[in-house]
Symmetry: C2
């Protein structure tokens, strides 16, 4: 059964479809096209699995399909890959009404969305996320970007898709490590402002990790509902949307510090959430038992809960590049309690305490 989650962004509302067999339903896509022509951007891992089928059902509906295949991995989320998309679109004379379709995980979605935002000053685009992380998080809400050597997602745009198709069938081919990485973002929603979902996750984590159909569908829908509500209220992240970055300030420092691609984004976010929990404990807001609940749930999802020891100085230098820095002050997402996140600053001592408690010993 397909669930539809509307994303009510005033100037650009759209729907997320969550279900099985969606890739075969070309009519969902065709209904959104401004002309019977698309360019599908995918990567070398995902394309062999799903591109032939998608291409076939679209062509059967009279749609002209161009395929653009990029290498797989966060380390390719760069100017160079973006330029490769631009070159391919221009070489094939893609037009202003040609739609881009992102078929892949978060990296493909972020880059394709950004390409759609800037090709000829903006063309329509559609997200078909094929990883758990992309289905529950990155494909929804219109954040698009590429990385820069000096910071993750530093170059990008807010640009909304016309449609998101989350086909649960695509998760069956997802490696366990990738599935766990996606669970970091699933669990994130529970900590931010959904304590009921936290209890549900703690009770059902084994079933979710076993990818039990009904449990997985419920978790994904719940995450999409949470994300849709938050981004509809604050599309451009002038306020509460920043809460979705729980674990991400530390996490981005881990990713950049180790080199993009060494840890998966979700893995870095997991360890980052543990650091944010330790920092919240240092502020006297969380008890040790709360931090243990954070750690235990992430461990049950197969995620790392100990951050790499980059050294406090390196962490601080990397975090000073964060997009949430205002007048030199880093804004952190912290926990008042489990299920209640807020935006605040951290005294140096709390950062040091969190890193001391949450990083691997040298």
């Amino acid at each position: 059964m397909t669930h539809i989650v509307p994303v009510d962004i005033a100037h650009a509302p759209y729907n997320i479809h969550i279900g099985r067999g969606l890739l075969a339903q070309a009519e969902l896509i065709v209904a959104q096209l401004a002309q019977p022509r698309v360019a599908i951007v995918s990567n070398e891992t995902v394309a062999p699995l799903y591109l032939p089928q998608l291409k076939q059902v679209l062509e059967a509906k009279g749609v002209t399909v161009q395929a653009i295949i990029l290498p797989d991995g966060e380390q390719y989320k760069t100017w160079e890959s973006l330029n490769q998309i631009m070159d391919a679109l221009l070489t094939e004379r893609a037009e202003r009404k040609t739609s881009l379709i992102a078929l892949g995980g978060g990296v493909i979605g972020d880059m394709t969305g950004f390409a759609a935002a800037i090709y000829q000053r903006g063309v329509p685009f559609i997200q078909i996320p094929t990883t758990l992380l992309a289905q529950v998080d990155s494909s929804v809400g219109g954040k698009t970007a590429i990385n820069h050597p000096l910071g993750k997602n530093m170059i990008g745009a807010f640009y909304q898709p016309k449609l998101v198709l989350a086909d649960l069938d695509t998760l069956s081919t997802l490696p366990d490590r990738e599935f766990s990485a996606g669970m970091a973002e699933v669990i994130k929603y529970a900590f931010i402002d959904d304590p009921e979902f936290l209890l549900w996750l703690e009770a059902n984590i084994q079933g979710v990790m076993a990818r039990q159909d009904d449990l997985l569908a419920y978790a994904i829908e719940r995450c999409c509902l949470n994300k849709a509500r938050i981004v509809a209220a604050d599309e451009k992240e002038t306020g509460q949307r920043a809460l979705l970055n729980l674990g991400h300030t530390f996490g981005h420092a881990i990713e950049a510090g180790l080199g993009y691609g060494a840890w998966l984004h979700g893995e870095a976010v997991a360890a980052g959430m543990v650091l944010a929990a330790h920092a919240s404990q240092a502020l006297g807001q969380l008890a040790a038992a709360d931090v243990a609940r954070v750690t235990n749930l992430l461990l049950a999802a197969g995620l790392p809960v100990v951050a790499p020891d980059l050294g406090a100085a390196r962490y601080k230098a990397l975090m000073a590049q964060d997009k949430k820095v205002d007048a030199g002050k880093i804004k952190f997402i912290l926990l008042r309690q489990l299920g209640e996140a807020y935006i605040g600053e951290l005294p140096e001592s709390a950062i040091d305490a969190a890193l001391a408690a949450g990083c691997a010993a040298k």
Copy 2:
């Protein structure tokens, strides 16, 4: 005396200030800043003339100023220059509330606006156009872009400035060739939908070319009023805004065909408008006398009215890359009469006739 032209774009209204001595009025800028910090992007020609003064008045108001100086010329409106801006902003840790200021002509304005659109997914920006072309056209309306080897302005965004300061004093240092190039865009507005302004220009072209104070101020304000009206009604160019591209489909082909920088943009637009007039004549809409009026006014403004002979095949190949192509059909901006432009298609024969009539013999 300063004139203020409001640009009533629903989600992002702003004002154009037109007058003398505006660069010294730091308070106009300071009132728009989200934090007392700016990065001024300029080029090697303009920076020595106006940057020290602007920097000084801003710093006197407590604003931290970073300067980013690029080489001068259309041939530098590239990925590489854009990346140079990104590198400089990230190296200096420019933040989400740091404003970018474009100090220069159309190339600087287009690139700085695009940089502002994509740095950290969007930071505020201010336009200080120092050429006639930028003051009457490119600084207003939020079109930002860079060129790609396969087409002009192919990569960009619609992104509105917070403020446009058109300081007439900066035109006093503008070389005659640049001034004439700007006049192509001035004259364009008359042909599109302002027949009264056409009569005024024909009567006053000598005085305008002599840069007589009151005449020049009037012409600039009239152009800004026209542009503000058109873009407020159609920000994203889904309809009538395309009329502003009169002469630009042929013009872009000239620029790309000769290599960016060989002809100034305004020069290519002038010759492009003559070609559009010839095409309209071939359709039986303009009389020979009308085409002569187009040519004579452009000549009086010191502009080329004969297009380079790239060959019809090359023109067509270059124009097929235009952003206004829809389902393989090029949309041209044509003239029903002088002062009444429309969007239409051209039969092959009319393109050939226009090129035969408007290009230099080999």
